[in-house]
Structures are given as C-alpha cells and as structure tokens.
C-alpha cells in the first residue's frame, strides 16, 4: 500500500505553551518501497510513525494509506518500537500470536503462523522464553516477528536497532533486508544513523529538527547487497551530512561514538568518518 502525507503539521500543547513538532511534511512511500526517515533526535521522526500508525492525529494535513485517510490503528500497519515493547507476561510465542488472536484467527492456525514468523527471525529455540529472559537483539527479533505475523501491508520501524550493539545491529539489518525482499511490505524505517539509512533504503528523507521539516530526499540507486565503502553511498552520506551540518554538531555531543557496521567492512571505517555518520 502507498503511504502519502500531505501538508502535515503536528504540534503538542503542554499547559499554555505549544510545541511545533512537524511543519508541512509532504512525503510518499510507494507500495513495496523501503524508505528511511533520517534526522537528529527530537526532530519528530517518531511522531510521523505514530501518525501513520494511527496512534496520533495530525494538527492539520492529510495522511493517506492506499488513498484512504488514516483513522486509528489498523493491523495492516504494524509498528516495531525502539524498546521492543513486548508484553512481559507473554512468552515469545504468546507475543507473536497476540495480534493474530486479536484478529480472531483460530488457535491452530495462529500457532502455525506465529511459529513460521518466529522461525523467520531465528528465535525457534526461544518460543517459550519470556521477554525478561531475552537479550536486546532477541527482543527486537521477537518484536519484528510479532509485527510481521499480521502480514501487514506497511511495516513501520521506529529506530528499532538504536539500542543494540553494533554487531547485533548489523546482523539484524541484514535480516530485515532479507525479510523485506521476501515479502516486500512497504517499509518506513526511522533512524538517526546516516550509514543505516543509506545502507538500507531506496529513498532517504532527511528531516531537520524543531520543527521537523523535510530538508531533502535522496534516492539511493546502489544495488543490493550494498557495500559500506561503495563510492555512491559515501557520496550520499557526505551530502546528507553537509545538509544537516549544524544539526549534526548539535546532536553529536550527546550521541558520540556509534556507527553502523556492515559485515564486510567491520574494521574499514576511516578514522575521520567514525563519528560523523551519526546524526
């Protein structure tokens, strides 16, 4: 399904002050496309996810999914949150089955479907484990399986790998890529990591902060699987960093030292690049 945001504004009122979070956001995600929203912390990227998920309403403007305005959450648009947000009282299996149960799918069928998606994220050995027994990466795998089990037309990912270590992050990025190529859902992926965005997406929307505005769209035509040192990717990354120069400076201070790793190039980050890739 195609996602379209037209002149979307969003502000939050707190007491008597109003905070403008999004200003005139126009974006589209074509059916089956992988799009990243890239911007520094606090630029309203997550708010865009919440709006498309139907968890919040825009102050003004239209949000269209397959041409129809979004009116509340729907299982055809599922979300993977940064903190996994698994239900702690349910096992991995219970979590993955949750949406299917809500949809009224009979037990035998929903179990089979849940197991299939658990296998897809390589958690088959942990179907009876509870979230508190899982590592951060395993929790995100479970959350991805839970979101995929509903076979959504649109998968929304809100900085899903931001809290993971570089190794786990890189493995999960590759797995997400495989899953996307298998089922081809429309994906909107939020990140504040330039390498992650350029490594994954067909197109990258670059968003500035306070209020969030779209500064640029980069179409990444590099074929997959992508190599971290690909010259075209580096050019995109440089452009984005220039674009957001000041914002980077702002955010670098609190989030120094993290970067995306590609399996082929784990040690190949040039010294000057090590930090600059992270918005």
């Amino acid at each position: 399904m195609r996602v379209e945001l037209k002149h979307v504004f969003k502000s939050f009122s707190h007491n008597s002050s109003t905070l403008e979070v999004l200003e005139d956001i126009n974006l589209t995600v074509e059916e089956g496309e992988f799009v990243c929203l890239l911007g520094p912390s606090g630029c309203g990227k997550s708010t865009i996810i919440h709006l498309i998920a139907g968890l919040e309403r825009p102050t003004s403007g239209n949000i269209l999914v397959a041409g129809r305005p979004v009116d509340g959450p729907d299982p055809s648009r599922t979300v993977v949150f940064q903190e996994a947000a698994l239900f702690p009282w349910l096992s991995v299996l219970g979590n993955v089955e949750f949406g299917l149960r809500m949809a009224g799918i009979p037990p035998i069928k929903r179990r089979a479907r849940a197991l299939e998606y658990i296998r897809l994220v390589h958690l088959s050995k942990f179907i009876h484990a509870y979230p508190h027994q899982l590592s951060g990466g395993m929790k995100q795998r479970a959350a991805i399986a839970r979101a995929l089990a509903l076979q959504p037309a649109i998968l929304l990912l809100d900085e899903p790998f931001a809290a993971l270590d570089a190794q786990t992050r890189s493995v999960l990025q590759n797995e997400l890529m495989e899953i996307w190529e298998l089922a081809r859902p429309t994906i909107l992926f939020v990140t504040h990591n330039v390498r992650e965005a350029t490594g994954l997406a067909d197109r990258v929307y670059v968003i500035s902060s306070r209020p969030g505005q779209i500064r640029d769209v980069q179409t990444i035509q590099v074929p997959r699987p992508r190599h971290a040192e690909d010259a075209a990717l580096l050019t995109h990354q440089r452009k984005i960093l220039e674009l957001l120069g000041e914002e980077v400076e702002k955010v670098l201070q609190d989030e120094l030292g993290e970067r995306v790793h590609f399996p082929e190039a784990q040690h190949a980050v040039p010294p000057g690049h090590a930090h600059g890739m992270h918005l």
Binding site: H50, A53, G54, L55, P73, D74, P75, R77, T78, V79, F81, E83, A85, L86, F87, P88, W89, L90, F98, G99, R101, M102, A103, Y130, P131, H132, R146, A147, L150
Partner: protein, 252 residues
C-alpha cells in the same frame, strides 16, 4: 534499595534469634512470674496434642480461607469495575477508599449487630478489613498501563473488551499481587480481632480465654503461633509470588 551500611550486618538472622532467645531466658530467670521460652514452647507443643486446640486452629484456618477467598473475589472484581466504569468510580470510588481506611477491628461491632456472635461475623470482618486494599491496588493497576505497552497493543489490533482482558488486566497484575499480599496481613489481623470479640472458637478466642484465666505461658504461646503463621504465609507464599511476578514483568 540503598540500604545504609549496618555495622551489625555480621549478625545472621539465626544468630539474632538465638540472642533474643537467650535474653528471654535471662529475663524469665530474673522475673519468676514471666514464663521462660522453654515453658512457652513446651505449652505450645503440648497444645497440638489437645483436640480442642486443634479444632480452634482449624476453625481459624477455615475462616481465613473463606474470608480471604471472598477478599480476592470482591477486591479484584470491585477494583476492575472501579477502574473500568467511570460511573461506578464516581459513586463508590471514595467509598472504597474509606473502607480501606478503616482498620479491620473497627468492623467487628457492625459485624456483631448484623450477624450476631457467629462465624459469619468474623468472615465479614476479614472481608471488610482486607478487600479495600485489593480494590484500590487493582484500580490503580489498571489505570497505569505503561504507555508503550498500550501503543503496541493498539497497533496490533487490540481494542474494547479484548484490550481490557488481554492488555489492561495482565498489565495490572504486579499491582494486584501487591494488594493481595497486604490484604493477607490485614485479613489475618481482622480474623484475630473478630474471633477475640465474637468468641467464635478460634485462636483469637483462645487468646481471650487464657488471658481471663491468667495463663501467661499459654497467652505467649498462642501469640507466638499467630505471629509464626502470619510470617510463614507471607514469606512462603506472598513474598515468592510477588518476586516471581516482578521478575517476569521486568520490574526488578
């Protein structure tokens, strides 16, 4: 919890108990009217061979089982109604808080007027003495669904009744268990107060009997038993339950 360093930490609980025992023994030696621990434990052990005592103990246990079951039933369903239906909250919300504020023993006179000096009066006392805390904690629990969990549930299609039973209620379980643990302690106190004042055969009533007969050793023996049961049930059942729930819900 940041407990301040205690320089008597070297004293293990067993050692501390032993010290207490020695002190008791010493005071009994100084004041002959004060029964020695050996005498008290002797009386207590002997009690268990008496059928009247065993019947009293069984009676108390039974009333507690019935009373506490009612507490669970009324407390949780009342709390769910309070949290779920705003009208009920408006009407009896403050009433539940008031019930919660009345000590169990204060219900006994009303219980006696309504039910006479009967077992039902005692059970009523347990119910009213302990269900308030369960209602209040259940109510609090279902109002405090973590926002992230709520959002995840909504995107997965949970709404209405499904949302309530499969998200709100399980999310409230740690709070409900906290309430149940406190309710056990409140209920146990209420049981004793009820039995003491209604003279329905039980540990509480034995307490008043032996006090009237001036049997200090019996009095201490029964009080020890009451404390022992209270502590044992709390640590063997409720503490473990609470811990298990907190671990699973990721709260520790």
């Amino acid at each position: 919890m940041g407990k301040p360093m205690n320089k008597f930490e070297f004293l293990k609980p067993a050692q501390a108990l032993f010290l207490l025992y020695v002190l008791w023994e010493a005071t009994a030696w100084v004041f002959p009217a004060w029964p020695s621990p050996r005498a008290v434990f002797g009386v207590l052990a002997d009690n268990f061979t008496q059928s009247t005592f065993r019947a009293a103990l069984a009676g108390s246990a039974w009333r507690m089982v019935v009373g506490y079951s009612l507490v669970i039933l009324v407390g949780i369903s009342g709390g769910l109604l309070l949290g779920r239906i705003p009208l009920i909250d408006r009407i009896i919300g403050s009433f539940a808080v008031a019930v919660h504020a009345i000590p169990g023993a204060a219900w006994v006179p009303l219980a006696i007027i309504w039910f006479g000096m009967t077992e039902r009066a005692v059970i009523f006392t347990i119910l009213l003495g302990a269900c308030g805390i369960v209602m209040v904690s259940t109510d609090t629990g279902i109002r405090e669904v973590p926002p992230l969990v709520a959002r995840a549930a909504r995107t997965l299609g949970a709404r209405g009744t499904n949302y309530f039973w499969f998200v709100v209620v399980p999310a409230a379980i740690p709070k409900i268990v906290d309430g149940l643990r406190l309710a056990w302690a409140f209920g146990w106190r209420a049981l004793m107060a009820g039995e003491l004042l209604t003279s329905v055969s039980g540990l509480g009533q034995l307490l008043s009997q032996v006090a009237k007969a001036g049997q200090l050793d019996q009095l201490l023996a029964i009080m020890l038993l009451i404390a022992g049961i209270g502590i044992a049930v709390d640590s063997l059942i409720f503490k473990r339950l609470e811990h298990a729930v907190r671990v699973r819900w990721g709260l520790v």
